[in-house]
């Protein structure tokens, strides 16, 4: 672990003992989960919004995915040369349908695969590795 790892956006997620944690919130009245944190519950059937900080993570099932064959425009950042990557949409066991890059190559990815949330490098800047949350097939 020679290089310093820094989240690409502060406060959204962290790595605790090697485990990926997303910092979101949950309404204690209707149990609706939110990521990123939400100041209020958006469920129209919930008449008593009561938000509490809540950490998400763990495993899920890949609902679908797409491939970025070309680099997206800023504010996205990536290491040169650009390598096509997979973006997965995952139904996490904790109740969130979450989007993230996947660590696998396009030809390795299968819809309905079991995946694990991890923290991984997104790009490098000023000698540091900027990290984000990603999925890894298990």
């Amino acid at each position: 672990m020679s290089e310093e790892r820094v989240p690409c956006v502060e406060g959204l997620f962290s790595e605790e003992n090697g485990v990926a944690v997303l910092h979101g919130s949950k309404c204690s009245n209707c149990q609706t989960p939110y990521f990123p944190r939400s100041a209020a519950c958006h469920n129209p059937d919930c008449d008593d919004s009561n938000m509490e900080d809540f950490d998400f993570g763990g495993k899920g099932v890949l609902w679908s995915y797409s491939v970025a064959d070309f680099p997206p425009p800023p504010p996205h950042k990536f290491d040169q040369p650009f390598v096509p990557y997979v973006m997965g949409v995952v139904d996490l066991d904790c109740g969130l349908r979450l989007i993230a890059q996947m660590v696998e190559k396009p030809e390795e990815v299968k819809v309905d695969a079991q995946v694990q949330l991890i923290i991984d490098t997104l790009y490098h800047e000023d000698g540091k590795a900027l990290t984000t949350w990603k999925f890894k097939q298990i």
Binding site: C8, V9, E10, G11, L12, L22, G24, T32, P33, Y34, F35, P36, H42, N43, P44, D45, W63, S64, Y65, S66, V67, A68, D69, F70, P71, P72, P73, P74, P75, H76, K77, F78, Y85, M87, V89, D91, L92, G95, L96, R97, L98, I99, A100, Q101, P106, V111, D112, L122, T132, W133
Partner: protein, 397 residues
């Protein structure tokens, strides 16, 4: 509520900045052509128009404030009429039509102009451009990086998993669309393409290829609508607006729109579109089985397969069979986008809802030439816009 009729429609052919069709024309010039054509088609003079409902654009005209209707009124001659500028992303044209329809139906005005026009910037539509950790679109791009078309390819991939849809079938939708466009003088692309052409076009976002995704275009469309009573002064064959609806998405929608959404048991991915179409069926007492043809928002070929199922025009998983059997062509049992659709026109975003009204009108009058749906009696139109906006309209003769 009074009965409302469409008595005139017009369009400026769609094109791309710098080409032989639209060249360097401003959105004002495109709208002028469409409005002049609609007035002429209706036999109505500009001074007879009592109010204007226009689609608001963030890309062109409107003095940078989306005041596109005011631009049109100034150009045609400031008569002092009320102007309603409607903003709803790509659903804005449908929204403007709904406001016009509601005003005339409610007896506020007897005759109105509905208009939408667009000169689009080059390349993919850029997102918010805000660099703040509180902006969900910024987070989506910084933490993940999602090019626009990847959103559609995620849906296409899911459909391949659920129903075994093949890349050839997505391509066949484009082949069918471009076959229609051959007969549409307003389409940007008017040349038929083969299955091979589509399959040989490059991936924009795997599994979707260049010819399966609509580009952005410049264009404009206009419609003159009025009460049934006023319509009789101008024509013996008005087209009747059976209904026009607007809806927004519901909380349980499962389309992955942000970074994360709560998982619900809602099977629907486009609740705004489904709500708009379903409420159009309810309000008009016209059912899916009564629809002669549909003009739907096909930003990508995926939607031509998914939407008819989401609205009950056919059963889930049935679209591919209907497509391959030719049932979605103008002469089939479930014609979809006989105009050639967005895939043949390109998307002049806020004009599209009005573009659909023009095509429905031509089809219902029997003026659609080589793309005519035989004996078309009832047409359904649908738009979908950023922010969870959607509209639907049902026209009949």
């Amino acid at each position: 509520m009074r009965e409302v009729a469409v008595i005139g429609v017009g369009m400026h052919r769609f094109g791309k900045t710098g080409d032989d069709i639209v060249g360097t024309k401003s959105v004002g010039e495109l709208c002028r052509t469409a409005v002049d054509a609609a007035l002429k088609d209706a036999g109505v003079k500009w001074k007879q128009i009592q109010a204007v409902a226009a689609a608001s654009s963030r890309f062109s005209g409107g003095k940078g404030w989306g005041l596109n209707g005011n631009d049109v009124v100034e150009d045609l001659g400031s008569t002092g009429v009320p102007v309603y500028n409607m903003s709803a992303g790509c659903a804005a044209g449908g929204n403007a039509f709904n406001v016009g329809y509601s005003m005339v139906a409610g007896g506020v005005y007897d005759i109105m102009l509905v208009v939408g026009g667009e000169v689009m910037p080059k390349g993919m539509i850029q997102t918010s451009g805000v660099e703040e950790a509180t902006d969900p679109e910024f987070l989506r791009q910084r933490c993940i990086g999602m090019p626009g078309p990847s959103f559609w390819s995620t849906l296409a991939r899911r459909r391949m998993f659920e129903y075994g849809t093949t890349e050839e079938q997505f391509s066949q939708v484009a082949v069918k669309a471009r076959q229609c466009s051959v007969h549409n003088p307003n389409a940007r692309f008017q040349k038929a393409i083969s299955l091979e052409d589509v399959m040989n076009s490059p991936y924009v976002s795997n599994p979707l290829r260049l010819f399966q995704i609509c580009p952005v275009s410049n264009g404009a469309a206009a419609a003159i609508i009025c009460s049934a009573e006023v319509a009789r002064q101008f024509t013996s064959k008005p087209i009747t607006v059976a209904t026009s609806t607007v809806a927004t998405m519901t909380f349980d929608d499962m389309l992955p729109r942000g970074l994360a959404d709560p998982i619900t048991d809602c099977p629907n991915l486009h609740t705004e579109a489904q709500n708009a179409v379903t409420s159009a069926f309810e309000r008009s007492a016209i059912g899916p089985g009564d629809i002669s043809f549909t003009e739907l928002q096909d930003n990508t070929c995926y939607y031509e397969l998914a939407f008819p199922e989401e609205w009950g025009l056919c059963k889930p998983g049935e679209s591919e069979r209907l497509l391959m059997a030719g049932e979605t062509t103008p002469t089939g049992s479930m014609p979809i986008n006989p105009s050639g659709g967005f895939v043949s026109f390109g998307e002049a975003t806020t004009a599209m809802g009005v573009f659909q009204i023009a095509e429905l009108t031509w089809q219902l009058r029997g003026q659609a030439g080589g793309r005519q749906v035989p004996d078309a009696k009832v047409g359904l139109a649908q738009t979908l816009g950023l922010g969870g906006n959607a509209t639907a309209a049902i026209l009949k003769r």
